[in-house]
Symmetry: C2
Subunit: 167 residues, 2 copies
DNA sequence: TATTGTTATACTCTATAACTATA
DNA sequence: TATAGTTATAGAGTATAACAATA
């Protein structure tokens, strides 16, 4: 087997398309969130669940759709939060198959610490951008996120609401 | 343990800061790359290694720094690529502790298929953005990526070059 | 003694299939 | 029969520690 002499790069970009940048920065962001949340006592996977539940109670399926996590995977995730008494699970009287999940009183202090940690990571990631650029980046990312919403473990079209249970 | 009545969201954003958007979209991007690369026969972890090696031969340490992967983890990654005869490892005559890694001739066809797959995923992720917005997003992401370069498993300051071995 | 690459190990995250209970 | 939630299991990714060969 011989080695290739020196293949020229495809175009102008060395190896960094926007998609790969997203994938790479996603890892960096997740890693930093993980490090910052250690003192708070929660892991990255719990972050979106807690923040979404703060908007109001939901069924597990609703939560799974909202945070784009497989319903199977959500079980263990909620078990962690229940073990720490940060959430409450109770049966839905209307349909006893369903569990209604909501945030516990005890979670309030944690959520405050969590907000602080998240804001710090956010700030650390975007130090190089001024406020206008941050806003710009966030707007672009929001649009991309909305456009890729039909992806992931959930295949149902979320025609109703992205953040249910706020009633 | 009682349930919290209805805690109001922190500010205007429901649960989507730029940092969390990055983390979330990173997962989406990685998942899509993974799906698109199945027919090509490589996994997402190999992507950056191959694209970086295309710029020229490197030592394993140089490659590890360039793609921000732990040197330990890089071993198994390169074993995969070597098993498929996509790369060649040989001893550096100047320092026999080092391995020089380069792309094999056989990899050329794969790289072409890979470029196509990457471009398709890229396009699928950014459908909602026009060319100017894509350029804008990429520029912002590049800056953030450069600013967070001192993160990750590598702690050495990359003062020389981000993509070594191009000589 | 320090460095390059390697192996072994474990822990987290994710994906699939099969099960219980309710409808 | 279909749905909500659960369990079990296996795979991929990642991080740490210890080791061999070379400098």
């Amino acid at each position: 087997m011989e080695a290739l002499e020196s293949a020229a790069p495809p175009d102008e970009t060395p190896c960094t398309s926007a998609g790969q940048l997203l994938a790479g920065l996603g890892k960096v962001a997740t890693r930093r969130f993980g490090a910052a949340l250690v003192p708070v006592g929660i892991r990255p996977r719990h972050l979106n669940a807690l923040l979404t539940l703060r908007a109001g109670p939901t069924t597990q399926q609703g939560l799974a759709e909202a945070i784009r996590v497989d319903a199977v995977q959500l079980v263990g995730l909620l078990n962690d939060l229940e073990d720490e008494e940060l959430i409450v699970r109770r049966r839905d009287p209307a349909d006893r198959r369903r569990h209604i999940v909501e945030i516990s009183c005890k979670a309030a202090a944690r959520l405050a610490a969590l907000d602080t940690a998240v804001a710090e990571v956010e700030d650390g990631l975007l130090t190089c951008l001024d406020p206008a650029e941050r806003k710009q980046l966030r707007a672009l990312l929001l649009r991309v996120a909305a456009a890729t919403a039909e992806d992931g473990p959930v295949d149902e079209a979320p025609t109703e609401s992205a953040c249910p249970g706020a009633a």
